[in-house]
């Protein structure tokens, strides 16, 4: 069953050395599939946490602080952290 929205994850900042992501990297998800042709690097350490938000955003349920996009960071402490922005995207926007 098609989900209501695609989910876009964008790296908005990298606050320290990170071998995996750079600012501007994007991951596009048609839950549960990552659209690899429209996605950059995917960090396996950050993705499990991002998956919990992907499930909600794909159904149109946005979490986080009202009036601000959802911002999350990776859990690493010696690298980064990387700040990700999670947003829903209408399917039509991608066509």
């Amino acid at each position: 069953m098609d989900k209501k929205f695609l989910v876009e994850i964008e790296v908005v900042d990298v606050l320290g050395p990170c071998p995996h992501h750079k600012k501007g990297d994007k991951i596009l998800v048609d839950e549960p599939s990552v659209i690899t042709s429209k996605s950059g690097n995917i960090c396996s350490r950050a993705f499990p946490m991002l998956s919990t938000f992907i499930m909600c955003f794909s159904e149109g349920i946005e979490t986080g602080l009202q009036g601000v996009p959802l911002l999350v960071k990776c859990p690493a402490t010696a690298e980064g952290p990387v700040i990700f922005k999670v947003s829903k995207k209408a399917r039509e926007e991608e066509k």
């Binding site: 908005v12 900042d13 606050l15 396996s44 350490r45 993705f47 499990p48 946490m49 998956s51 919990t52 986080g64 602080l65 009202q66 601000v68 959802l70 911002l71 999350v72 960071k73 990776c74 859990p75 690493a76 402490t77 010696a78 690298e79 980064g80 952290p81 700040i83």
Partner: protein, 149 residues
Amino acid sequence: MKDSAKPKYESEKFRYKLEIVAKKIYPMCPIYKKGDKMTIVEPAIIPEETDAICLSFLADLIPYYRGLSRGIDPKRMGLKTEGDLAYIGCHDPGGQYPDYPTDGGTVLFEIRRIPLTLEDIKKYREFDLKEMEKTWAERRKRYQEKHKK
């Protein structure tokens, strides 16, 4: 090789209990207060030795807990270390990084690893190793027979 020159976490067969302690709270967290602990003996959380469990933080921890439990050096996983301790952050940047506001706060956790012997593990769960080894041998045999080239 001198003891001090040996890799510290060389054996994949060696198991560690993980004590994950809320070390710093920036500036608030509705789940953890400073000093709260979660204890893991892979693959389970030990409720009797756990003060609070945040599912959001569990998702942060999931990629790391098995490696940490089996002795992989936390530095190889991008975690900061200080002596025998390792550090991991929760996914919420809101408290620690004001440029990235959220509705929550940030918690920095200290990870303490305590080596476990088989006898230690038996304190946490009941099992009969001889019976398990018998089952594993049967399964191994079945697989190898089915996938024989």
